[in-house]
């Protein structure tokens, strides 16, 4: 865990945005805000709308300097800004291309605070599952063998599509991240908590805008029969509305995942898939869940005779990596050099 948060660890003194002249919140009439997407589905950009009426209040207090989805500022406009001109840049999406990384580095230079917004920026996210395959394999599968990014007909070399990085990376692999707003996408409660902080009292660097405790704490379902005798997928069961989903055999990642969403999925009868990321001490989210499941599974006779039956229960888990590491694979799993292949880009974790 400590290593995983390296990119978010307290900044060195000379880079601190809270020294000397700046105090973006109290001394400036409005917060200079940038929102950027790297390898992203767009959901994070839409998530701001979930604030509802409160969004109007937020908008009245910020000045949007750069937000490709919303305003017509270009990369060159950002490049023209002096260092530190942006108060806060919220970056969503995984880092997948050279351009993603360049933009992250550019925004880092121009911004006092960088916020990793959403599961992709936080942990690598669902696109991070691509790290199970080599970059070349991915390119070949999508574009055919021997594909190379080339400029469009008549274009100059710099018009070529950006090179793919060797692996999908969380934002912290490229730049220092000050805060994290987790979630896929971040739930409205956490978004407003974030703006409250950005427009008011700043928490210590490295803060994750979510609960320190696991989701179970805010889940209203009753936890009684702490045994896993079978594994079911969500479509296979109409769950009891009162009982813990894990007790009913659904692989719910609530116990290893930060709270903060008010247990939205479990309340709706769907197991938590872990989008808010691991609790501070859980370490590798997927491994922590596997370890817990190994403790919970009970089948067959007592003792060694049970092993085979218990294995059978766990064998019913379809797509273990996608289940246990749905969001955090790039943040927890160092891509082996054998998968990294040649070419440019920093593979795996820094």
């Amino acid at each position: 865990m400590t290593e995983k948060l390296e990119g978010m660890s307290p900044r060195s003194q000379e880079n601190s945005p809270r020294t000397s002249d700046l105090s973006p919140v109290t001394h400036h009439p409005s917060l200079k805000l940038a929102v950027y997407w790297t390898g992203s589905c767009g959901g994070c950009d839409v998530s701001f709308l979930e604030l509802g009426a409160a969004l109007l209040d937020v908008l009245s207090k910020v000045e949007i300097v750069f937000w490709p989805a919303l305003v017509d500022a270009k990369r060159a406009d950002v490049e023209a800004l002096p260092a530190g001109a942006i108060d806060v840049a919220l970056i969503n999406g995984t880092l997948r291309t050279e351009e993603n990384r360049e933009m992250a580095e550019l925004l880092r230079e121009k911004s006092k605070l960088i916020v990793a917004y959403g599961a992709c920026a936080h942990l690598g996210g669902i696109p991070g599952l691509a790290n199970l395959s080599q970059r070349e394999e991915i390119l070949a599968a999508v574009f055919g063998d021997g594909f190379r990014p080339t400029p469009p007909p008549g274009g100059s070399p710099e018009d070529a599509p950006p090179e793919l990085l060797a692996a999908a990376l969380p934002l912290s692999a490229a730049v220092r991240v000050d805060y994290v707003v987790p979630g896929c996408p971040p739930p409205p409660g956490l978004i407003s908590r974030t703006f409250d902080a950005l427009l008011g009292e700043l928490p210590p660097t490295g803060h994750v805008f979510a609960s320190e405790k696991a989701l179970c704490e805010e889940c209203p379902r009753t936890k009684e029969d702490r045994r896993l005798t079978k594994v079911v997928r969500p479509h296979e069961l109409l769950p009891d509305p009162e009982k813990c989903l894990l007790d009913q055999g659904m692989i719910c990642l609530g116990p290893v995942t930060r709270g903060g969403c008010d247990a939205a999925c479990p309340k709706a009868g769907m197991p938590c898939t872990g989008c808010l990321g691991p609790t501070p001490n859980a370490g590798d989210q997927g491994l922590a869940m596997l370890s817990a499941l190994a403790s919970l599974v009970r089948a067959g006779e007592e003792g060694e005779a049970a092993f085979a039956s218990e294995d059978k229960v766990l064998d019913a888990i379809v797509d273990p990596v996608g289940t246990f590491h749905k969001y955090a694979l790039p943040a927890t799993w160092k891509v082996p050099s054998s998968l990294r292949g040649g070419g440019s880009g920093r593979g795996g974790r820094p």
Binding site: M1, K213, C216, R226, P255, V256, T279, P280, N281, S295
Partner: protein, 651 residues
């Protein structure tokens, strides 16, 4: 870093000087040495001196298993001013020198020692957990072992609850005729103890009672005891016996092993304690609604009370002694010996009742089928014992002796009778035992035949016994009048269930498991629970009495302690991180975890096994002095390469 040679035990395989030299160069180690015997006084002094001179903040002794000398070295360190929990043992004997050879052993010893250095670096000074305790002892089982334990604890000044399942204390010993090798009358030497227990001011007798529930932990057990109604007020009952005479019911007597009958209202034997009749609800015609009531009509002292209710008692006790005794392996399990269907094939306890002056035949040897005096009696030893294929693999220990006694007493009772004893080996290890068996063999004219009996079956009014005398190689066939089977000793039926309630382990055969076969034979693995008598393993009377006294001494050590201490190296919850998901609680083999909003660890119950730590999904549960960070650096220390030896200067 202190590396022990353990004579040749470690130094014969591991290059201890090299281990010491390599560890001296390990980051954080300021002092490294080796010594012939670290556990010796000079070895301990070496540790104490180094702590003082180098102001050590941690020490690792690379030696034998921590279960041997961890306490020794921690105590030595404490006397030199170092917190004992900053001392760790690197096991380079059991886990290294004894199981490896060649240079690889030295390489591993270095890794093991380094690993523990990394652990010590992350250790925090701790103080033992302290807790108060109840000053009362529960003894379960009122046989001779339980009685002795109860008397000894009570004599030491502590209250005792003596719980017995049957209506009287006395146990198996009360059923015996005479005891080997002295031929004392069993009841004559037992009943004074029973009376003493009954009248002891600090012993509370709870007969016809069973332990229903046990919770808590060493020093602080909470027990619930169910006392069944006897429907007879013992203070009023004058033992006139009129009730039993008018009772229309007759059922086999448990005390006489089915050789006689008793009424539904009965007293097991005249000297029973408490001295009172008991109405057995199970065999009575019916109490609700009352269907007979004849007994009450003739009871002059009006002792019978059909409205008596069962009582539930709740008590706090500091220690529990389990003395639940034994049963005999059922004859019905012996297909080769007639499945228990031949009336004149009986077991050893039945023969005790036949020999007993208070027994169904008033001490005359008569056989069950027709009451005739048997002339030819065959005694079969190891019936169900030492037979791993079909029955019990173990030796029941007491049978050689009681069979010799049986044969001898039979010859005394029937001087013209013939006694045959089939045996595998004679095991007579005990004071005066060998002499007793020799007397039976040589002076009493008992024919000992070395061999197993293949088959026993009924033939008219005889019982045919087919066997082999392995010393002569001849087949032996005896047309016997009576066959006595020395059935294997097995634990009482309810013992494993009771053990489960107490979280005390039982072995594969249901006998209670001791904490260490050599050094902790009186203790269960669960703290504060002690074992006495045949519930632990087959035992004769002197052994059961000795173990009863021993268990009492262990119990008194708890009851008399001003405060109990427990290792602080236990699991701990970070309440700021615990979500109360409850995954940990059912994993705990010691039921040390309770959960409300967050999980709580009972530090006295926790044995530090770490199961909950592995199960905790959010990392809120940690082990004191064995954090994830420590484990990670320990793994790194174990796996990183061992550097080449430094150049040796000089010669």
């Amino acid at each position: 870093m202190f590396v022990c040679h353990c004579g040749k035990n470690i130094a014969g395989t591991v290059d201890v000087a090299r281990v010491s030299e390599a560890l001296a160069r390990h980051p954080g180690v300021v002092y490294a040495t080796h010594h012939e015997y670290m556990c010796s006084e000079p070895g301990q002094e070496l540790l104490r001196r180094a702590i003082r001179e180098h102001r050590l903040t941690g020490a690792v002794v690379a030696a034998c298993s921590p279960s041997m000398h961890e306490t020794t070295f921690r105590r030595a360190a404490a006397s030199a001013g170092l917190n004992p929990y900053l001392v760790e043992i690197a096991n380079i004997r059991e886990q290294c020198s004894w199981v490896h050879e060649g240079p690889a052993a030295t390489d591993k010893a270095i890794r093991v020692a380094r690993t523990m250095v990394e652990k010590v670096k992350g250790n925090h000074p701790l103080t033992p957990v302290e807790v108060g305790h109840a000053e009362k002892c529960l003894v379960v089982g009122g046989g001779i072992a339980g009685i002795q334990a109860a008397l000894d604890v009570a004599d030491a000044g502590f209250e005792v609850l003596l719980v017995e399942k049957s209506p009287t204390i006395g146990g198996r010993m009360a059923q015996l005729s005479e005891t080997f090798p002295t031929l004392d009358c069993s009841q004559c030497i037992l009943t004074p103890k029973m009376v003493e227990a009954a009248h002891h001011p600090r012993i509370r007798l709870l007969t016809y009672s069973e332990v229903e529930e046990v919770s808590g932990f060493i020093g602080n057990y909470h027990v619930r005891i169910r006392k069944k109604p006897t429907y007879v007020n013992p203070d009023r009952c004058n033992l006139c016996g009129e009730c039993a005479k008018v009772c229309p019911i007759r059922v086999p007597s448990e005390f006489d092993c089915g050789l006689s009958e008793r009424a539904a209202i009965y007293i097991p034997f005249p000297q029973a304690v408490p001295s009172s009749y008991t109405l057995d609800e199970g065999s009575c015609l019916g109490l609700v609604p009352l269907r007979c009531g004849e007994c009450a009509k003739v009871c002059e002292p009006r002792a019978i009370d059909f409205d008596m209710h069962e009582e539930l008692l709740e008590e706090d006790v500091g220690a529990i002694i389990l003395a639940t005794g034994y049963e005999l392996y059922p004859k019905e399990a012996m297909a080769e010996y007639g499945h228990g269907t031949v009336p004149d094939v009986i077991d050893g306890l039945q023969f005790e009742r036949i020999l007993s002056a208070s027994g169904p035949t008033r001490g005359e040897v008569r056989r069950p089928s027709d009451g005739r005096v048997p002339k030819e009696v065959v005694f079969i030893q190891c019936s169900g014992s030492r037979d791993p294929e079909l029955h019990k693999p173990y030796c029941s220990k007491i049978c050689c002796m009681y069979t010799a006694k049986h044969a001898l007493l039979f010859r005394h009772a029937v001087p013209d009778g013939k006694a045959y004893v089939f045996y595998i080996d004679i095991r007579a290890g005990g004071k005066g035992y060998e002499e007793f068996v020799n007397r039976a063999m040589e002076e009493e004219g008992i024919l000992y035949l070395r061999g197993k009996v293949a088959k026993v079956f009924r033939d008219g009014d005889k019982v045919m016994v087919w066997g082999v005398d392995t010393l002569t190689g001849k087949r032996v066939e005896v047309a016997a009048d009576l066959v006595v089977l020395a059935q294997a000793v097995v634990p009482t039926t309810g013992a494993p269930e009771l053990a489960r309630k107490l979280r005390a382990a039982v072995d594969a055969h249901g006998f209670l498991q001791e904490a260490h076969p050599k050094l902790r034979p009186l203790e269960a693995l669960t703290g504060g629970i002690f074992l006495a008598g045949a519930a632990h393993a087959p035992k004769d009377i002197p052994e059961a009495v000795a173990q009863g006294s021993g268990a009492a001494a262990k119990a008194v050590a708890i009851l008399s302690a001003p405060v109990l201490t427990h290792s602080p190296e236990v699991a701990e919850v970070d309440e700021a991180l615990c979500s109360g998901c409850r995954i940990c609680a059912p994993q705990c083999p010691y039921t040390a975890i309770t959960v409300d909003e967050v999980a709580h660890v009972n530090e006295i119950l926790c044995e530090g096994c770490g199961t909950c730590v592995a199960a905790c999904p959010s990392g809120a549960m940690t082990m004191r002095n064995l954090s994830d960070v420590q484990v990670q650096s320990m793994i790194r220390a174990a796996l990183s390469e061992v550097p080449e030896p430094a150049e040796v200067k000089g010669g």
